[in-house]
């Protein structure tokens, strides 16, 4: 089943969509946050009549499990270039995610250009460490959906040998060979192992409180180069900043999430 099918939504009434959280997009039973966000993006772009989310923020309230969900979209303003809406993704147990998005048509994007950064330097994908491959036998089923190759310098945590730097860099694509659209980028920005796994801290998991993604362009076909870094772990929270570059060398997404840092039990 392609990503497009696995995130499809069906309009049931104006502003109300039905969808199905498909098994396989989960980490230990909980659906990947970017996968759920992509479902919301499909509903919001449909409801606002503009094809691409240029900025989208999700607050995560409860984990999502396989099964039926609904997405309720409330358009707040629909203008010529942008539309803005709030959206709630709910299961029968209640709301799982509340989100806000501004949509546009990125094919019409133009303006002056200034780029003061470079894509992350990565060895070729075949020289990187494949998540879900031989070096990662305990990989979650989500890794059967995405093809994720970590920079060898950032993969030490898989063998209990964290690099000491809260950074994860690597390549990303869908396993089905499906071309990633701007909504697929929402999976890339939440699809890598937590940066904190490479820090020397007693932290086992970092549930996302909030994730904001800016979609800055439409990716060309091919591997995405991704880099995630954390600079501040303070007061029980951390931020994780992401950059996604496409195969033509353009930055196509930025992300930042705020995550909880629970202490080990």
């Amino acid at each position: 089943m392609t990503f497009t099918t696995a995130t499809a939504v069906h309009a049931e009434a104006p502003g109300r969509y039905e969808a199905e959280v498909v098994p396989g997009w989960d980490i230990a039973g909980n659906a990947n946050g970017g996968y759920l966000l992509a479902m919301i993006a499909r509903a919001v772009t449909d409801a606002t009549g503009k094809p691409h989310p240029v900025t989208m923020t999700a607050h995560y309230l409860a984990p999502g499990r396989p099964g039926p969900v609904t997405v309720d979209v409330v358009p707040v303003r629909v203008g010529g270039r942008h539309a803005t809406a709030t959206a709630t993704l709910s299961s029968s147990d209640g709301p799982l995610i509340v989100a806000i998005a501004t949509t546009t048509d990125l094919t019409r994007a133009s303006g002056p250009m200034l780029v003061d950064a470079r894509p992350p330097a990565l060895p070729p994908p075949e020289e990187c460490v494949a998540m879900g491959g031989d070096a990662d036998s305990a990989a979650p089923s989500f890794m059967g959906k995405v093809d994720l190759r970590l920079h060898p310098e950032d993969a030490g945590f898989l063998r209990g040998n964290a690099s000491g730097k809260a950074q994860v860099r690597g390549w990303f694509r869908f396993r089905e060979g499906e071309v990633l659209d701007p909504i697929g980028l929402l999976v890339a920005v939440d699809g890598f192992p937590p940066t904190i796994f490479n820090a020397d801290l007693p932290v086992g998991w970092t549930p996302t409180v909030e994730l904001t993604a800016h979609v800055r362009g439409i990716p060309v076909e091919g591997w995405l180069r991704c880099a995630f870094t954390t600079r501040f772990v303070t007061g029980g929270y951390l931020e994780e900043d992401g950059e996604v570059w496409d195969a033509s060398g353009r930055l196509i997404a930025q992300s930042r999430q705020l995550a909880l840092v629970p202490r080990p039990a």
Copy 2:
């Protein structure tokens, strides 16, 4: 009138607050976006019963002008540690801002610490360039409310001499001598001149599409050190990343906004 008074909200009904956009907090007639966000934060923290917004996102729909406004808050989930709500700030003309916030009590924040960054190096405030001072006679009235001192290297744009680097660093405090609370930080993250003023691009103004602020701590009394940078101007958008450090040397807020880059007429 203090900032606290200028951002006060009054509960009119459950989830509905009245407020007044006070003259003086504007740039060319339009209220500062952080000032309006602070009003929303007061309503959301009141409605959720938790004192601090730990992450807050606003999508800006229309400019705010002095006069009465309402803030409608819809709590989505209220838990023990966090609460999440959406909120809409409206004038009689319609919605101006739609926002989403997660609130908490930051006085209870604790956890492991890792900081891989330093506050921006700034000359002392008296050696910086005061916005609204002698070097800046065309300053907006907003600069009568905040005391903002730019790093001399980043103040060249005031004399038509942009540094060439899309960066603005400086000190921030309220002019009234009022201690900045976590809600006051929302003004700091949107209170500086646009980074783009220091880039060599034909861009005159950059309206905010979306602003996300993470409040990472409660500031101690004293000047805030702030730094804003833009690395990507592409396709008619730019991001602006902010860091705010308090007088004790702790990072207390991070921000990122997505802004439009209109071409000059």
